[in-house]
Structure formats: structure tokens, C-alpha cells
Point group: C2
Chain length 352, copies 2
């Protein structure tokens, strides 16, 4: 398996990205890690390693990219400078030189590269970012690629998420929910209401609307949302978890007896930390494009990058992209058949 | 102070609502609590109390209402049956027989009653629900009254929240933030982007966009959002907090040593629980209508209702409604003056 890593993208790039890439290479000699970034940055790291006596793993290679996409840069500037690390890394997937790409850089740029270079699956208007909710068995999408969505896009996300959970997690009939401001069927914006009707009429295992409070523990496998609200749900959950863990940590270290108490409940705290850890999967796949592109959190550290590389491998091994294409073709055909039947019925009714 | 309580609204109505109302009456003999609900329900409770030897506080009175609004009922049916507890309780505020109303029933019905009976403040298109974020000094609005908002409505919410925090919390120049999917100025839906520009041009102390993760600890006093995303942010935070506290509780009781450990860190856990407790304020005021109407969580228990009664009293005592009207009039005048100046400038430029 060959994974291209965008060395230049992320708040802690290039150091943490490189650390993660090296850790992943060392952990498994069968994977090929292709570092994509500025020549100077990569060479400096190799020199540094030599000086420290660190061996460079044999399964690491590099492809140089002159330019870097800044986090704030508009996606249109991507088209002007095509030698950015994200562009070149995605191109490696297009040409078949890599099986997947992992980046913690600008999500907009990564999405644009995926759409322009890899293309979209049949029946998909726009790819979306799917994030594994901590605890397992739950996926949230879209979490930020598309701030505005049509009801049809939300239906496509539902199909994408459903196939993903079938293929990657082995869940037979994933329960699909729609994120709304209440569980009642009529709740939500007009777009959410229309998406609700589409999902109800689909072949999906649609379980109805769920709320923000259901994200971590609700009875669902795929939570569908536009990228704006999905991002807010994800980050609000993260924010609350971070705040609580910080307050616990601070409070606990305030006295000897509390430190002792904390020691006694250490397994509980450790389990809790694990069950809230968004870094467990390292990132989320861009679903709906013809290739595996893993979007990582901007704040990714080495461990997140290493885990994202593992996720990329699982997506490639699961042959997920082919299965999505197959499923979306079926969905498109079923829809066309339904529409044709409805049209025929309408025509017959008119004749009478 | 006379507070009308909608006895029939809420998941735990009427029992918990009545418990909260009685507790509030007992806690302060100066307040007048007016129970509004079905005659049978209220009388049965009084009989029950007599049987148990519980004294009925002298500062409790009742107004009977034949009908009840169901949680799922459409707001249009409100107009058909005008003898619902929420309608009659709001009317008591309109006629001056009560100073404020508290309800844990259908938010849509409460909002409709407020708009129809109390009316809106000058310059306010739609009232919104403001919720105190746990920890103090932070307000989130709208949290569910308006699922779709225009940029102008979001600007009005910002003014409403800013005056509220000045009057009720004594914060001189409240920091106003806009909830978005990233802190960069260009982030968000077209509506959020347009609202960002309006807030930037306003006299408010606008500090820019904030994310879901900033809700509990961000550097702001007023977080502005449409009711859909605001609801999702609030409930996602609540959901994460509930999940963590539950896991802690479960894990801690699993063995003797862990129970001992938990005892040693009890102050930390208690502090944490308090700093995450949305029931501390019991509910949120409907801002922008000509009267004090406190919206409580559907799941409110007696303590939440008692706290909401306290919040209602503080809002009345702060004379908040008059101050909002004053402020919104000023905002409308300043806007009109700016528009007139711009028009004059444009006309002068054309003449040249």
C-alpha cells in the first residue's frame, strides 16, 4: 500500500506530519510512505535525523512540491499555482503512483484537488467529509466540506455514509439519521424537512431525525447533516469534552488526597479519554470522489497522522470507492425507474 | 413580583412544574405565584397536599385554563383553542395581572403567544430564545425559535443579546461573536457571511466568528446564531457533558477502590457538575417581545422551574424590556441616519 502524505499542511506542519509519517513507516514495513512537500523541508529533516543517528526507514520516499497552500488562501489560487503539495499528492493518486492521500492542510484545497483530479462518483454532486464519532459504530457527515446543501445532496450523503459503514465497518443495514433541532418529523429548516421526505422514500434504513445530544450515544450509524451544522455539532462536542477533561485534570492535581483519588479511578479516566478521542481515527475520508483522500484535523499531531494513514489503508483495502460507485449507480437507476413509472402513470391517468 | 406558571407544559408536567412552583413560593413570601392550568389538575394537587398535611403557601393563586397545547401540536391550532394554559398565562402578562410568564411547554406556542399577545419590540422582526451558557458570563442566542434567519435578524439578535448582558449581567461592552464553522472572517454560509459584515459595521463590540468548540470557554459574552445551528451547538454540548458525567458515575461505582477514589475527588466532580449545569438558570428569556416570557427546557424538573422563576424575577427587576426598546429604537435611528447619509452622498456624487 502506497500512501502520499501532504507534509506541508496543518497547524503543526511539517514537524508533526513528518513524525507521524515516520512512525507509520516504522510500524509497518509493508507500507510505502511517500512524503510530498518542499525539497528543503524534507531534506533538512533527513539531515537532522542523520545527525541524531536516526535511521531513515527504507519504505519512505519523497516527491518534491515547490508551493504550499496556506490555510487562509482561497481555493481559486489553487488553480494558479499547481505545484502545491496537496495538488501533487492528489495527482499521485490519479496517476496510480499512490493508493491514497492524507492531508491536514486546507480542507477546501483538498476537496478541490479531489474533485478536479480524481473526479466524483456517478450520482454525487459534491463529496463530503465523514468523521468517525468516538466510541465506534457511528459516522457524522458532512462535517465541513459543504456549508450549504440541497435536500438531494443530503440524500447522497446518506447513501455514501451507508455504503461506507457497510463496507468499512461491516454493519449490514446501517441506521441513517438526519441531524435536526428536534426528533419530531416536522422539525428543521425547509431543506432538512425536504431531505427528511427524500430519506423516508429511499431504500435506506432511515430512522428519522436526531438531535445534537444524540451524537455520541444515539441509536444510529450514519448521521447526515450539511457541512455547517455538522461542523458545529462536532466541534461543540469536542469543546465540551476538552473542557471537562481539562477541569478534571486541574481539579485533581490541586491536593495530595485528590491526586490519590485520581490514581484510584485512573482506569475510568483513561477509558473516558479514549472514548472521547477524535484522534483515534486520525481523520475522515472525503466520500464521493474517485479515490481515497483522508482529511485530517488542522491541529493533527503525529499520532493523528499515523492513525489517518491506517484509516487510508483500510479504505483502500475495503475497495470502498468501487463499492460506492456501484451503489450510487444503483440508486441513480432506481430513481430514474421510479420517475419513469410516475411519469407513465401520470400519462395514463391523463388519457383516461 | 407576580409570576404566571404554565402548569400544563413540559415532559414532567404537571407534577414537577407544580413542585417547582410551590418550592419557589415557599422560598420567598414576597413573590406571588399564579398557577395557570386545568382546574382538575390544580385542585387535585391541593387536595393531595391537604391529605398529606402540607400547607399551601399563601402566596400561591390559580387561574384555570380549559385547554392544553400538546408538544407536537402545530402553532396554528393555538389560534383555534384560545383557552390553553400558555395563552391564558401570557394574557395575564399582557393585562398586567402578572409580571412574567414561565413555561416548559411547546416553544413554538410560547413564541406565538408572545408575538400575538405581548407584541415585538420596535425594530425586532422575530423574538429569539437566549440561553445562559453554564459557567456564567456567556449567552447563546437563538437556540431554537427561528430555524431560518436573515442576516438582519442575526444582527437584531446581537443587539438583543448585548443589551441583555449589559442590563442583566452588568457587562459594560459585551463581546459579541458569530457562530460559524471556522474563526476566519470568510467562513460560514452566505447568510453568516452577510451577518458578519453587518456586525462589523455596527456599533456593537463584535469580536468576529467563533466555533462550536468555543461555546463553553471562548472569549465572548454573546454568541449569535440562527435557531437551527444554535440548538445543535447547545444540545451537542449538553449531550457530551451528560455522556461524560454518566460514564464517570458508572465507572466510579464499579469497585470499592474506585468508590474511595471518587470520594477523594468529590469536590472536583461536584464543581464540574455545577459548571456544566444548564438548569442553573432554569431557562432562557424570549428576547425581543414586550414582556418577560421564560422558555424552559421540555425536560425541566422542579429545580429548573424554581430557577426559571428566579430568572423571570431578575429580568423584570432589571427592567430589561424597556431598555431593549430604548436600544432598538436607537439602533433603528442610527441605521436610518446612515442610510440617509449614504443616499445623500450618492446623489451628490451623481450630480458631479
Amino acid at each position: 500500500m502506497r500512501i502520499a502524505i501532504d507534509v506541508m499542511g496543518g497547524d503543526h506542519a511539517p514537524a508533526e506530519i513528518l513524525n507521524g509519517a515516520f512512525a507509520a513507516a516504522r510500524a509497518n514495513a509493508d507500507r510505502q510512505i511517500i512524503l510530498v512537500g518542499q525539497e528543503e523541508v524534507i531534506k533538512n529533516r533527513l539531515i537532522e535525523m542523520k545527525e541524531l543517528g536516526d535511521e531513515v526507514p527504507a519504505n519512505i520516499s519523497a516527491v518534491f512540491a515547490e508551493d504550499v497552500m496556506d490555510m487562509d488562501e482561497s481555493v481559486t489560487s489553487l488553480l494558479k499555482k499547481k505545484k502545491t503539495s496537496i495538488w501533487i499528492a492528489t495527482q499521485l493518486v490519479k496517476t496510480g503512483e499512490a493508493d491514497a492521500i492524507v492531508s491536514a492542510g486546507s480542507t477546501g484545497a483538498q476537496m478541490a484537488c479531489a474533485m478536479l483530479l480524481l473526479g466524483r462518483c456517478k450520482g454525487v454532486e459534491r463529496p463530503c467529509i465523514a468523521i468517525h464519532v468516538p466510541g465506534g459504530g457511528r459516522l457524522l457527515l458532512d462535517t465541513g466540506a459543504n456549508v450549504e446543501c440541497t435536500p438531494e445532496m443530503l440524500e447522497q450523503f446518506a447513501h455514501l455514509g451507508s455504503v461506507y459503514m457497510q463496507v468499512q465497518e461491516g454493519i449490514e443495514k446501517p441506521k441513517v439519521a438526519l441531524l435536526s433541532n428536534g426528533t419530531e418529523d416536522h422539525k428543521g429548516t425547509p431543506t432538512v424537512q425536504a431531505a427528511h421526505a427524500l430519506l423516508r422514500a429511499s431504500e435506506l434504513n432511515f430512522v428519522g431525525n436526531l438531535e445534537g445530544r444524540d451524537l455520541l450515544r444515539g441509536d444510529y450509524n450514519v448521521m447526515v447533516s450539511d457541512g455547517f451544522s455538522g461542523n458545529i455539532a462536532l466541534k461543540s462536542t469536542e469543546g465540551a469534552a476538552m473542557m471537562i477533561m481539562d477541569e478534571l485534570k486541574q481539579g485533581i492535581s490541586a491536593s495530595f488526597s485528590r491526586k490519590l483519588g485520581a490514581m484510584l479511578i485512573k482506569p475510568v479516566l483513561r477509558g473516558l479519554k479514549k472514548s472521547l478521542d477524535y484522534k483515534e481515527h486520525g481523520g475522515g475520508p472525503l466520500l464521493g470522489c474517485n479515490g481515497v483522500s483522508i482529511v485530517c484535523h488542522g491541529s493533527s499531531d503525529a499520532r493523528a497522522i499515523e492513525n489517518a494513514i491506517g484509516l487510508a489503508e483500510r479504505c483502500v483495502a475495503g475497495n470502498f470507492v468501487a463499492k460506492v460507485t456501484e451503489e450510487m449507480t444503483k440508486v441513480a437507476e432506481a430513481k430514474a425507474a421510479r420517475e419513469a413509472a410516475a411519469a407513465a402513470e401520470a400519462a395514463a391517468a391523463e388519457e383516461k
